[in-house]
Symmetry: C2
Subunit: 522 residues, 2 copies
């Protein structure tokens, strides 16, 4: 006996009304939203109404007395007749208002006897830098409302994509005992007694003494190791969850708190992992394109276009990005080929680099940018098989993969996905699933070596210690000690992808409340 | 020009095969999975194969030589003929094996010359307490694999539910500057220089000096305040995201890190918020029931049933829970009525309480349990309109709501949803959307009072300070200062709901890696 749905379904919002404008021709309708702009003329006022459901606005025409008390940002419910607009208007229909209800006033200037202040986000163009100082209020701007909806839809479409392919979505821990990458700065977590909390300036020193956990704990830098634990039972798992790096570098590509899409699958080949990404991203972009997001982004950014010279190329840039993301396959080259090409470019004076490209130092951003252009020419590029010595301990040697031209056995089965301009957005690898090799690699990397027996000796002690009483990463070795299967996976910087898709040049402007060195507003 | 999907769609897993067993009658098939149990007889071996796609197993029949090297937990791919089983068998079909490929060995006893240890999770019944010491390995047990899949499906169905109703899914910050509830312990976040990280035992003292953020920052205890910022633009928002409380109480209902489902909607009535929950939960439970989860949970727990006396009532308990969750409406009573009923129960000796029920002290767990039984009789119960003095600063007075019998104006428009046995699983309220009243309430609660002008004076200074340079919660007041709309919302303990739905008596056993006082494994 199932009950019928009781919570009211969504009523007509601006997006619904604008999608089929002629459907409501001559009808009485009520629309709720915020006033994006209001233009008062002698005979009538023109209101552009938005509600977050679309970047486009609905025009309402008001008699002057109805416009009293209205200003940019005022929340209203406007009731009136939906009718054809005069022919010279941009939109074919408009709302002829009969009544206006103020749901929330916004602008002190439009009000009398108010304690409210002038609304800091006015009609004029505001720079991203200015809006970043008001993260809680910039959410009300059309561009930021659109970014929130884009994020929401990406989450949903990715969830559908993975579910259709039998992936299980997991929620890995945020507070962890280990630093997965063995690189980068981590945040430390401690608890603070409530008595101390009243004084805001208290040192973390006091709190550490109360030791909520036995040892220092960290905010996760990657959920990969935990995802690997699921793969033994579930063939394919994924997560979209918060990740943290206390990196002080202030670049347009970094924030200290970001959401990462990570997936882990049972497979014997790195190609399957790359194929998954090369299938998932175009599927997502296609769905967004079908939903009209590209056009909405261009519309919402039209102010920025006129405000600076770069803006003029924005539509072409964005259209090209989306198109190339949907065009597969993407080039795949080895790290060795990439370094060779970088040297050729240097020798032929085709390019200058601040850092000399080399086998052992990895790729700098300038190198990645050159490679993306030289090999991708607008397309994403997979760079595979990096030197073992510059990669984390958990990666499987390339030689276990077919067809890798590396007789020295000094590379690992991994890849970075580089996007033009933005560069690395995904990193992935096959994981070392063999206990003995993993133990040796951990030892080699100076990591907590698992207890007796993992370096080749035969184990006689079958006693199992609780995982809390063993080394930091011994639980990870356990995943092999008690049986493993070949598997690989990847991590995708979700905010970076959103920035790329929306043409947002600084990642801090796609994250609602960006956290970075020196800044953690609200 | 859209490309066709390249990543292979899911191949037949155990769930697919068992769903329509006769469809593959006489076919040659290959199934991958883990060995749940193996029974070796002289003539043949019987393998129960599972793969996380279902709690049920598929039976394979092997000639003895094919069974060599196999044990509990071994990952295999078995190829053979899918054929009708002898009539006395539990399952109508079985896999007559022709070949077995070991993908991952698991049990040292079954192997020779191995460094692997005996698999610590054997066929016999293991207590939840024992398995909790092995969080990374218990994921491989059928019950835990089922819990992971249940969590995944709940996430998906909730996402679909909200999207169909035009909610935007948001990703609020985890590191925050404020403690939303003004109650409970918070975790403090600091950064630790990499040089110090090598020594695991370093004190957080050193790290605090490097000051990644200017002031001490915290792990979020609720995303409500941030969700409220979205409501001005988007009418309805929700999130499912990690939340933290450094509470030391070790109860079956608490963990320090948990996922909270929070939603915030524009509305003038608390009833809409309650209606949303009363619609969303039955919708979810109905979908899970249709997918056969109830039967799977009972099947996966059949071991526990025989292991202890309580287990015998488990099926009835669980069926009743699911049924009552789907039966709406649920009783709604005020806090005043609840306290009156508690006193009556005391006076008539119907019940004994350790704590005297009173208007000012709130409801203890024992009180909630009594109320859930007395008013709900198996159904969830909404308790509304708690005294203002025991609730957070942001709640709207009840008197602004219609029909509340409270002339004293000393209650707030809020509710807790109590479930039988488990008690509070959701808390919600209308939020104070009026600037002046909010400021007074913040002042009254001793919170950082927003800068000049918020306590009734007229503001002359229209300068906007960056939010980082203002008081902790001034940004929250800004949401009113620059225009607000009436709104309300709720927070639902996602892990608690999963525990309730799956009949898991301790929340620590539905969270893959539970964090609580003294424990943060892996």
């Amino acid at each position: 006996m199932r009950r019928l749905s009781a919570f009211p379904p969504a009523s007509a919002n601006v997006a619904t009304i604008l999608a089929t404008p002629s459907q409501r021709d001559g009808h009485a309708i009520t629309v709720e939203g915020s006033i994006r702009t209001i233009r008062n003329q002698k005979q009538r006022s023109f209101v552009e109404l938005g509600d977050g459901s679309t970047a486009y606005t609905l025009q309402a025409v008001l008699d002057p007395q109805l416009a009293e008390g209205l200003g940019t940002g005022t929340s209203v419910a406007i009731t009136g007749t939906w009718q054809a607009a005069p022919p010279q208007k941009e939109q074919p229909y408009e709302l002829k208002a009969k009544a206006v209800k103020i749901i929330g006033a916004a602008d002190a200037e439009a009000l009398t006897n108010s304690i409210m202040q002038k609304y800091p986000i006015q009609k004029k163009y505001h720079s991203a830098e200015y809006l970043r100082t008001l993260p809680h209020l910039r959410l009300r701007t059309p561009v930021n409302a659109l970014l929130a909806r884009l994020r929401s839809e990406c989450d949903y479409h990715l969830a559908s994509y993975f579910r259709e392919r039998d992936f299980v979505r997991v929620q890995p821990p945020i507070i962890t005992s280990s630093d997965c990458e063995g690189a980068g700065e981590v945040f430390t977590v401690s608890s603070k007694p409530s008595s101390a909390r009243a004084k805001d300036e208290v040192e973390a020193t006091d709190s550490e003494k109360d030791g909520f956990f036995k040892d220092p704990k960290f905010l996760t830098v990657s959920s990969q190791l935990h995802l690997e634990a699921f793969v033994h039972e579930h063939q394919k798992v994924w997560t979209l969850s918060p990740t943290f790096r206390a990196e002080k570098s202030d670049t347009p590509r970094h924030v200290a708190e970001f959401w990462m899409l990570e997936a882990e699958i049972r497979t014997e080949s790195l190609k399957d992992v790359m194929n998954l990404i090369e299938d998932m991203i175009p599927d997502l972009v296609g769905k967004l394109q079908d939903a009209g997001f590209m056009e909405e982004i261009l519309y919402a950014n039209r102010g920025a276009e006129s405000a600076n010279a770069e803006g003029a190329q924005f539509p072409e840039l964005l259209r090209n990005r989306w198109q190339r993301l949907m065009q597969t396959p993407w080039p795949r080259i080895t790290y060795g080929t990439a370094v060779k090409r970088l040297h050729e470019a240097l020798d032929s004076k085709e390019a200058k680099f601040m850092y000399e490209p080399s086998w052992t130092t990895g790729l700098q951003l300038e190198h990645e940018k050159f490679i993306a252009t030289a090999f991708g020419q607008g397309s994403p590029v997979f760079v595979t098989d990096y030197p073992r010595q510059i990669k984390p301990f958990y990666m499987l040697p390339s030689t276990l993969e077919n067809g890798v031209e590396n007789p020295q056995n000094n590379t690992v089965a991994c890849f970075d996905l580089l996007l033009p301009e933005l560069c690395e957005v995904v990193g992935g690898s096959m994981r070392e699933h063999r206990l003995q090799q993993l133990s040796q690699s951990m030892h080699h990397h100076g990591l907590n070596v698992p207890a007796a027996g993992v370096l080749g000796q035969t184990i006689t002690n079958s006693e199992v210690l609780p995982s809390s009483e063993r080394g930091n990463l011994e639980w990870y070795a356990d995943l092999r000690r008690y049986g493993s299967v070949p598997h690989g996976g990847f991590g995708l910087g979700f905010d970076r992808l959103l920035a790329y898709l929306s043409g947002t040049s600084n990642i801090k402007d796609v994250v609602p409340w960006p956290r970075y060195h020196g800044r953690c507003d609200c």
